[in-house]
């Protein structure tokens, strides 16, 4: 199987290398020619791919971190413990990439610390800046547990484990604020964002869809990492996550639909124009099809189907965020925006770095815990540290790339 993996991996590695080289070149251009030299942004289109994808999607896709840790450490549902660490790791890497993306997008990135000392509490961007900063610190603390364990710093590990619960509470609160604040950003543009996306409920919709995509990312990633590391798939975890995602997606659709109907915004669908088409694609790919798939018990028992369903949800989520940040403005201002190759190169470079970072962290840190029997779980929940320390890192079974084939 290693041979198969090696063969599968090599084209991806070449692609990754190309992304890194192109991104590095684009980086040089960005900091020598300014934003105008490397982006297709303009005075009428000041935000593009870097805000729409790197920031909005980066933060959203990291939502699995707080969702799963809340389920495990606050609600005490032990079933999800095996995916808690990978999810927090994803969130950590996601946030580092968001900060990385901001270093490109901000006109004067060396002043990124300004919001810490120059306050404007009336600004949503001020809230966003604080959330990014504080949650990145919290994520670093959460991640440090794995590093301490790896280095066998017993004292530090012990302290870090005690801090898990308060850290999780902070993570949930900060994420709640941050996910919703990215929607609030657009509350101030009622005249410039298309009515299919502009609504006073944007904060709530951004938060709800982030929780759903966080769960989808957990499914997506545990599939990917199972392939990459030859681990067994946590099928019952995936099944549960899919069920939860379906419920959250339904809640999202109810809020979104009620709001669209109450504002009479659905009338904008006819005659069908670009906005309408993008709206329908977003809703179908990201919400309706995933709900149908996730709520089907047969799909939930098949990892391959689950994998594709979660991919669809992630794709639809990305379309949703890009619709809010790009399409919704394009159709109103009548100005089109297509990212420059350099913008795409930087984004791909950041994504590649993220994938490599995840791979390395998963390889060298105790990210994937050894299986714990159900009897141990309650103990593990109460005395988190000791249990995990004692357990040696055994390579998990090679049960399967497609463990769900029944």
């Amino acid at each position: 199987m290693n041979r198969i993996l090696a063969r599968m991996a090599s084209p991806w590695r070449v692609l990754g290398l190309i992304c890194l080289i192109a991104g590095a070149y684009a980086t040089v251009l960005r900091f020598t020619r300014g934003l105008g030299g490397v982006t297709h942004l303009s005075d009428t289109f000041p935000w593009g791919l870097w805000v729409g994808f790197d920031v909005l999607c980066g933060v959203g896709l990291a939502a699995g971190g707080f969702t799963v840790s809340a389920i495990v450490y606050v609600l005490g549902i032990e079933k999800y413990r095996p995916v808690a660490r990978p999810a927090v790791l994803t969130a950590f890497i996601g946030y580092l990439l968001v900060v990385g993306g901001l270093m490109f997008d901000l006109g004067r990135p060396w002043r990124i610390w300004h919001p810490m000392v120059m306050w404007n509490p009336h600004s949503v961007m001020f809230e966003v800046a604080w959330c990014v900063t504080l949650y990145t610190i919290v994520l670093t603390a959460e991640i440090s547990i794995m590093v301490f364990e790896r280095l066998r710093w017993m004292r530090a590990t012990h302290i870090a484990h005690k801090a898990t619960f308060p850290l999780t509470i902070m993570a949930v609160l900060l994420s709640m604020l941050h996910q919703s604040s990215l929607g609030s950003l657009f509350l101030i543009v009622p005249g410039r964002l298309h009515e299919l996306w502009y609504t006073p409920f944007l904060p709530l919709l951004f938060f709800t869809s982030a929780v759903a995509v966080g769960l989808s990312m957990v499914i997506f990633e545990s599939n990917l990492s199972a392939r990459a590391f030859g681990r067994a798939l946590e099928l019952d975890v995936q099944e549960g996550a899919a069920k939860l995602a379906a419920i959250v997606l339904c809640i999202y659709l109810i809020i979104r639909g009620t709001d669209l109907i109450r504002r009479g915004a659905l009338a904008a669908l006819w005659p069908l124009d670009r906005a309408g088409i993008m709206f329908l694609i977003e809703i179908t790919v990201g919400f309706i099809i995933p709900i149908l798939l996730f709520s089907n018990p047969r799909v939930r028992r098949n990892t391959r189907w689950l994998y594709h369903a979660s991919q669809l949800m992630v794709l639809g989520f990305v379309i949703n965020r890009l619709n809010v940040a790009v399409t919704g403005f394009e159709v109103v201002t009548g100005k089109t925006y297509v990212p420059a190759w350099t913008e795409i190169a930087v984004t791909l470079m950041l994504v590649t770095i993220g994938v490599i970072a995840f791979y390395l962290a998963a390889k060298y840190l105790p990210v994937f815990e050894p299986d714990t029997t159900s009897g141990e779980r309650f103990q593990a929940w109460r005395f988190t540290g000791a249990n995990r320390l004692a357990a040696p890192r055994t390579p998990a079974g090679l049960r399967g790339i497609d463990g769900g084939g029944d």
């Binding site: 005075d43 005490g76 901000l106 919001p115 961007m125 609160l173 709640m176 604020l177």
Partner: protein, 251 residues
């Protein structure tokens, strides 16, 4: 609070306001059809009339509310001014402005946001804006906003045939320090989607709820966790005593 009244019916399109603005702000003399980082004001042709475009200097500016570092603020004299020493370059002000006014120095590696400052430095010295001072046709008038409003309605009332019954900037985005009057075709040239209300409150209603939302959510999380811990502890005790058959069967 000071402002500007622009009267499209009196404007002769000479462009001396544009020149004066460039000179006052030390901008390159090149001419543009649209606002740019080096053109804080322009004179547009609308049919056979002229229309000045510039920052409207909102009474409650979206840009100032949006700026995370308070680089933009409205001074008591009326101008909405920009301090580039604070600016981090997030461009949220450009997104937030309902009139799409702020411009950016895209070609620079140390870019600034650029827009009309309503000659804030001159106002401090008790002088009118450069554009109003040079206008030969009384099309751009400088003064206190209530006085300008009165003057606007006086001109409209004196010649209702040539003026639309409307002072642009009275309600647009909650009201602006720059007011515009003119014929109906000039009014039709404005973006109809600009809301007739102040916009900063739309984000403030959410932001102001953060402390209570965090407190409520935090308390909720702790409460839920406490209940679950307690139930698990009870179940554990029950199991030890052999009274809880369900839990016993599960493990």
């Amino acid at each position: 609070m000071y402002g500007i009244l622009f009267d499209a019916n009196l404007c002769i399109g000479c462009g001396s306001c544009v020149e004066a603005c460039k000179e006052e702000n030390k901008l390159p003399a090149s001419k543009s059809d649209v606002l740019s980082a080096t053109d804080y004001t322009i004179v547009q042709e609308v049919g056979d009339q002229y229309l000045r475009r510039m920052c409207m200097h909102c009474l409650e500016p979206s840009c100032a509310s949006a700026c995370p570092v308070g680089a933009l603020h409205k001074t008591p004299e009326g101008p909405v001014v920009y301090e580039y020493e604070r600016c981090i370059g997030c461009r949220y002000c450009m997104v937030a402005c309902p009139f799409g006014v702020p411009r950016y120095e895209w070609a620079s590696v140390t870019p600034r946001v650029r827009k009309c400052q309503l000659c804030a430095h001159r106002l401090k010295e008790g002088r009118p804006t450069a554009c109003a001072e040079v206008c030969p046709a009384e099309a751009t008038m400088f003064g206190k906003r209530p006085d300008l409003l009165a003057l606007a309605w006086k001109r409209i009332a004196a010649d209702p045939e040539h003026y639309a019954q409307r002072v642009y900037g009275t309600q647009e985005a909650g009201g602006t320090s720059v007011l515009i009057i003119g014929p109906q075709e000039i009014m039709a040239a404005f973006d109809a989607r600009i809301p007739m209300e102040s916009l900063p409150h739309k984000t403030w209603v959410v932001l102001s709820q953060i402390p209570s939302a965090v407190a409520a959510a935090g308390a909720g999380l702790l409460a839920v966790n406490w209940i679950i811990r307690r139930r698990m502890a009870l179940a554990q005790n029950g199991k030890l005593n052999g009274t809880d058959e369900q839990k016993g069967a599960e493990s």
